[in-house]
């Protein structure tokens, strides 16, 4: 008898997502190395990857937990700054590769911690309070860091919200955060390949989590909180868990961000609510609860307006047509049905072909 390789439908779905990301990476790398890519497009690759990472994290919160967050740029901000400070302080003291891995831990840990703290007062409540609280959190964290001056010298850490002078630093001390001027000199540790590896890592964690007893518990709360309680699901703990992981994934994207930019500034352009909403748009248009959809939507919808710059007056027109098309593909029940049918047929074809 032939031995059957048993890959369940959910795990093959996961593999397709990884395969898609890796294929896209290979193609883009080929373009990069053959010089076929404009430098403009080249500069968009890393942001595309970190927005895809945040979108994956946000979908865990919005699609799987069923809670709206309007502050994921804030968690990205926490991850970016905490890891940048770590790298600044340890550059030259720890070998590069190890330092970046540790910076990653620092960024993820801090954003997870902040996510946990934001979650405590809100997630025990039943109702749509998370959206408003995360919105406020995102703006507050961005503005605080924007106003913060931070430095270290032999006497220790100096903090001020006024000016660089007010830090009263020794001349040989290091300025870490220079107010609105932000952080400079963070080692340029992240590139497109590293960003893609981290995207894959985020996908592994989030997709595996969804397909586990923890993931089912979280989705049961989303689908019917009262029923979830009735079967003994500890609702608040699972909500906290999912939200904390979601914030941590956004923080991971922040680490890529801060290690790929010359000057890290806490401005609205990077960490404002408009960014949170942009990522939410990726999640919604990619299909709420569809992790692969988030990656595709984030990549396409981030690149498109940038690539269409040359077309000037038609740019927004084409962009809106694409938005509508994406929405139809991911939301119209009839199209979804046809799409599933189509892919089922392909899958069956592959199976028959392999047998």
């Amino acid at each position: 008898m032939k031995k059957k390789i048993n890959i369940s439908k959910t795990s093959s779905q996961r593999l397709i997502t990884y395969g898609m990301v890796i294929a896209a990476w290979i193609i883009l790398e080929i373009f990069l190395h053959t010089g076929l890519m404009s430098s403009h497009l080249e500069g968009l690759l890393v942001p595309m990857a970190y927005y895809a990472i945040v979108a994956v994290g946000l979908n865990l919160c919005v699609g799987i937990l069923g809670e709206l967050s309007l502050g994921h740029a804030g968690f990205m901000c926490v991850g970016a700054f905490s890891s940048a400070l770590f790298s600044l302080l340890t550059v030259g003291k720890i070998p590069d590769g190890l330092r970046f891995i540790l910076a990653l831990f620092v960024g993820v840990l801090f954003s997870a911690l902040v996510g946990f703290l934001v979650g405590i007062p809100v997630l025990r409540l039943n109702g749509d309070y998370l959206a408003i609280v995360t919105l406020a959190f995102g703006e507050i964290i961005k503005n605080i860091i924007n106003a913060l001056y931070l430095g270290v010298d032999s006497k220790g850490v100096h903090v001020s919200f006024e000016s660089l002078m007010a830090l009263n630093m020794e001349p040989e001390g290091t300025v870490l955060i220079n107010g609105a001027m932000g952080v400079t000199g963070t080692p340029h540790d992240a590139n497109f390949t590293i960003a893609v590896i981290l995207l894959l890592f985020a996908l592994v964690i989030v997709q595996n989590f969804i397909d586990s007893k923890d993931g089912r518990a979280v989705m049961s709360i989303r689908d019917n909180r009262i029923a979830a309680e009735s079967i003994g699901i500890p609702v608040t703990s699972y909500k906290m868990l999912a939200f904390t992981i979601s914030a941590a994934v956004a923080g991971m994207a922040g680490v890529v961000f801060s290690h790929n930019i010359a000057t890290l500034q806490s401005t609205s352009q990077y960490f404002g609510y408009n960014v949170s909403i942009m990522i939410l748009v990726y999640v919604v248009l990619g299909g709420i609860g569809s992790i692969r959809g988030s990656v595709i939507a984030a990549s396409v919808l981030y690149l498109l307006p940038e690539l269409l710059r040359g077309l000037n007056k038609y740019r927004m027109l084409i962009y809106s047509v694409v938005l509508i098309a994406v929405m139809i593909v991911n939301w119209a029940p009839g199209v979804i049905e046809k799409r599933t049918e189509f892919f089922d047929r392909i899958r069956k074809g592959i199976k028959n072909g392999a047998a």
Binding site: S212, A227, A228
Partner: protein, 254 residues
């Protein structure tokens, strides 16, 4: 000693005495009926027993332990599982995942193992799957295990809710109008399934039913509720021939 001992349970909603001094004693293995006209307070009794509402007075003793102050989540752990009059499935989860979700306490692996599908994940998930299929088989739902639960026909949705409650391994199962909205065939079949799970699993069942004829077939004991108060209780035959009970029903069920 009774498995479930309820004493003087009361609750008011803004002046309305929804349930007043409700007492109930159920022995292990009994199939007990709670009946009464619409709005009598039956569902409210279930909500009190499962910690959804906190009683203003009274006590709930399960297996010798006072669980009156426990949360819904704790009460399930204590050994009470329920279904809902208006079906509450996890509608975006498959049939089998609805049951697997309810097996969360029996099967254990860490969040780390969940995120990396390592360690105990594979073996525990396999066991969980086996157990879930076993439970689904009791309700003839194993053939539709991978369907989205919201796509099930109504009768099967009701059964799945019972299967999910059973999966938590309760000492006592509370069923809130399990046959509501079913046709006579489906109803007869469901009542058979309910008797069957009682006999097979030795589980104790408290069943709410609006329709008197239905319960008389399978319940040995009844409590009749009317306007939040107990109207009659005891042996099914005696209760159903009680003139007061007949009057309460005739007044409502015209």
């Amino acid at each position: 000693m009774a498995l479930l001992d309820v004493k003087d349970l009361s609750i008011t909603f803004g002046g309305l005495h929804a349930v007043e001094e409700f007492s109930l004693s159920i022995e292990k293995g009994q199939l007990y009926g709670l009946i009464g006209p619409n709005g009598a307070g039956k569902t409210t009794v279930f909500n009190l027993l499962t910690g959804v509402y906190k009683p203003t007075q009274g006590s709930i003793i399960l297996d010798g332990r006072d669980i009156t102050a426990h949360s819904t989540e704790e009460i399930n752990k204590d050994g009470i599982a329920r279904t809902f009059q208006n079906i509450r499935l996890f509608h975006k989860l498959s049939v089998i995942d609805n049951v697997k979700t309810a097996l969360h306490r029996e099967f254990e692996y860490s969040t780390f193992e969940a995120m990396f599908h390592c360690g105990r994940y594979a073996s525990v998930e396999r066991e969980m799957e086996k157990k879930a299929i076993e439970i689904l088989k009791v309700f003839s739902l194993d053939t539709v295990s991978s369907i989205l639960s919201s796509n099930l026909p109504y009768g099967q949705q009701r059964k799945l809710e019972i299967a999910r409650a059973m999966a938590t391994g309760p000492k006592i199962l509370l069923l809130d109008e399990p046959a509501a909205g079913m046709n006579p065939n489906e109803t007869a079949e469901l009542m058979e399934t309910i008797s069957l799970i009682r006999d097979r699993f030795g589980i104790t069942i408290l069943l709410i039913e609006h329709d008197m004829k239905l319960v008389s077939g399978i319940c040995e004991h009844l409590t009749v509720l009317n306007f939040g108060k107990i109207l009659a209780e005891g042996d099914t035959k005696e209760v159903l021939s009680d003139p007061e009970v007949i009057r309460a029903y005739l007044g409502d069920d015209e």
